[in-house]
């Protein structure tokens, strides 16, 4: 099986993110692999361990994204690929999806591509579906269980998390899969893995290598704003007994007319 997993580098989830002079900043918080993408890497590795084959991790981003790729290598991916080009500055999700689709085509004979549920910077949660569409492959999004994968027959069966419960869907390979947390906790990088990753040289492809021009962005972001500070006066409710506190609190809540 030839498996690809797509990862993005993002500011750590605990970062204090603010806008300064119209630019997003996160102080000295580290850039990390998108936490959802660790689940995607895990899912890819599990399938490789079951069915054999190779896992290649891919990211579209700047030079620093190599660190996110190295994290995936340390977890156990065999190869990494960075797609980086100044022409990609400011692109939107559909453009990234078209670039990923072109890269996947160029790699050739890919059976399965894993994505995270969403990237925690833009919170878009659309790239997996868009890449599938750009490739004209089935996109199985929000997958919590891969209940059957038969590379010989080219068939896959998954459970997707939807509002109404788990939808069981069958499709033919090649396919796109985006995963949610239920797919299984990501493993920690092993000591050997970290050593191997630190010595890896990661190839970089530019648009010219993909044989396409940089797709144009349709969506523009004219303005970024800090969230208006909510003026909250916290009122601590106290009293002599839990019942007294509860009565006071219930009155306060009812007076807010939110029920």
């Amino acid at each position: 099986m030839k498996i690809v997993v797509c990862v993005k580098q993002v500011p750590d989830s605990a970062a204090k993110v603010v806008v300064e002079n119209g630019q997003v900043t996160w102080g000295d918080a580290p850039l990390v692999i998108n936490p959802w993408d660790e689940f995607a890497v895990e899912a890819a590795l599990v399938q490789k361990e079951t069915h054999g084959g190779e896992v290649t991790v891919v990211s579209v981003g700047g030079e620093s994204s190599k660190e996110a790729l190295k994290h995936a290598l340390a977890m156990g991916c065999g190869e990494a690929l960075l797609i980086s080009d100044p022409a990609l500055a400011g692109v939107d999700s559909q453009a990234v999806a078209r670039v990923l689709a072109a890269a996947i085509k160029k790699m050739g004979d890919v059976d399965l591509v894993f994505f995270g549920r969403q990237a925690i910077d833009g919170d878009m949660a659309v790239t997996a579906a868009q890449t599938g569409r750009a490739l004209n492959w089935p996109a199985l999004t929000l997958v919590s269980v891969i209940s059957n994968l038969d590379p010989g027959a080219g068939a896959i069966r998954v459970e997707r998390s939807t509002e109404e419960g788990r939808q069981i869907v069958e499709a033919k390979l090649p396919a796109i899969v985006s995963v949610v947390k239920d797919i299984g906790e990501p493993r920690y990088p092993s000591f050997m893995g970290i050593r191997k990753a630190s010595r890896a040289t990661i190839p970089t492809w530019a648009m010219a290598d993909l044989g396409i021009g940089a797709p144009a962005a349709a969506v523009k972001w004219p303005e970024l704003l800090n969230v208006p500070v909510r003026e909250i006066q916290t009122e601590i409710i106290s009293g002599d007994s839990p019942a007294e506190i509860a009565d006071k609190l219930a009155e306060k809540i009812l007076a807010e007319k939110v029920l």
Binding site: S13, A14, V17, V18, V19, P35, W36, S93, Q94, A97, D121, G122, D123, M124, A125, V126, A129, Q130, R133, P138, A139, L140, T141, R157, E159, T162, E163, E164, G165, Q167, I168, V169, E170, A171, A217, A218, V219, K220, P222, E223, L224, N226, V227, I232, T234, E235, I236, I237, S241, P242, A243, I245, A246, L249, A250, I253, L254, E256, V258, L259
Partner: protein
């Protein structure tokens, strides 16, 4: 002439997701600024009640596709149909609710229609005849304004961010029938069924959420049944705690949420998790019990209207976001609060 503004009505087995009507309401507001009425799209099999409802929520026109291939949402036939209709009639804006289906459909249609998608927006405006959206990014730490320079402008509206219009039962109309755009034989996915009901947890559209955190296991006064090891005893204690949380949620007619620490410790299933790697919710009332208020938890509940915190530790960060707080033991406060509301709400 067809309308500039389209709204996709997301339905499941003949029932519209409520957020669809919120999207329709947002569509009416845009139509006031851009002119024309709103066209609603209903795809399904035997979903004509939903089409009738769309008129009652004020749609000027309903495009209704009734076909067995559309019975269960699948990306390919739904996208193909939306794309076909959009190519024929050139709407300027298509709004969809941010359900799993709406988001995916918008994302995929954007590829075929060579346009952009702006998912999960919390506000809509019009400038120079184009839609300007506001969407939370970085887990709600920032707000971004976005515009799409090509048509149709595909937008999904965040659940509970837009008011649901009033239903007017006297409104009716005749839907325009549209046919499917794909044959079953050409559709690469099959729905084999549903394995597990969602357990009735619908956090994203709940008006009230009562959540529990790691603190719900911290009741040394409880004696677990004999024969449990330490971990099992902890989970048992936590489940006793969650009973109290669930009781308060029940009295208030709300849903039960949880922190990741509670989920990871096995106290409660993941579908209850609120936060960056759980659900993003914005109820009218959010009561946090035994939750410290880590930044990743805040990411999921920051936009709740009224936040109340019950925590033993007066320094817990959750108090900085809460309008009302109680510094105390949740095991005595939460049941007393259920009782207080039961009296007042006559339950």
């Amino acid at each position: 002439m067809s309308n500039k503004i389209w709204v996709f009505i997301d339905q499941f087995k003949g029932h519209a997701h409520l957020a669809s009507w919120e999207a329709l309401g947002a569509g009416h507001k845009l139509a006031e600024k851009l002119g024309g009425g709103v066209t609603a799209l209903v795809f399904g099999a035997q979903a004509k009640d939903v089409a009738a409802e769309a008129f009652q929520y004020g749609a000027a026109e309903v495009l209704y596709a009734d076909d067995p291939t559309l019975a269960d949402y699948r990306a390919e036939p739904y996208t193909a149909l939306l794309v076909k209709l959009a190519k024929e009639q050139s709407p300027e804006v298509v709004l969809l609710p941010t359900t799993t289906r709406g988001r995916e459909l918008a994302a995929m249609a954007a590829i075929d229609l060579n346009t952009g998608v702006m998912p999960d927006v919390t506000a809509l405006d019009v400038e120079n005849g184009r839609v300007v959206v506001t969407r939370p990014v970085y887990a709600g730490k920032l707000l971004a304004k976005a515009v799409c320079e090509t048509n149709p402008q595909l937008v999904t509206t965040r659940i509970r961010a837009f008011p649901k219009p009033e239903l007017n039962a006297s409104l009716s109309g005749t839907p325009v029938a549209v046919g499917p755009a794909m044959d079953e034989s050409a559709i690469p996915t099959k729905v084999a069924g549903y394995s597990q009901a969602a357990g009735g947890v619908s956090l994203t559209d709940a008006g009230v959420i009562v959540s529990g955190g790691r603190g719900v296991s911290n009741n040394p006064a409880l004696t677990p049944p004999a024969g449990l090891d330490e971990k099992q005893a902890e989970v048992w204690r936590a489940q006793e705690g969650f009973k109290l949380v669930g009781e308060l949620a029940g009295v208030l007619g709300g849903a039960m949420g949880a922190s990741r620490a509670a989920v990871d410790a096995g106290y409660i299933p993941y579908e209850h998790q609120v936060g960056q790697t759980g659900k993003v919710v914005s109820p009218d009332l959010y009561i946090a019990c035994g939750i410290s208020g880590a930044i990743q938890h805040q990411a999921g509940m920051r936009s709740s209207k009224l936040i109340v915190a019950i925590n033993k530790d007066p320094e817990a960060p959750i108090f900085r976001m809460a309008r009302y707080g109680v510094v105390g033991d949740l095991f005595s406060i939460v049941p007393a609060l259920s009782e207080a509301f039961r009296k007042r709400l006559g339950k």
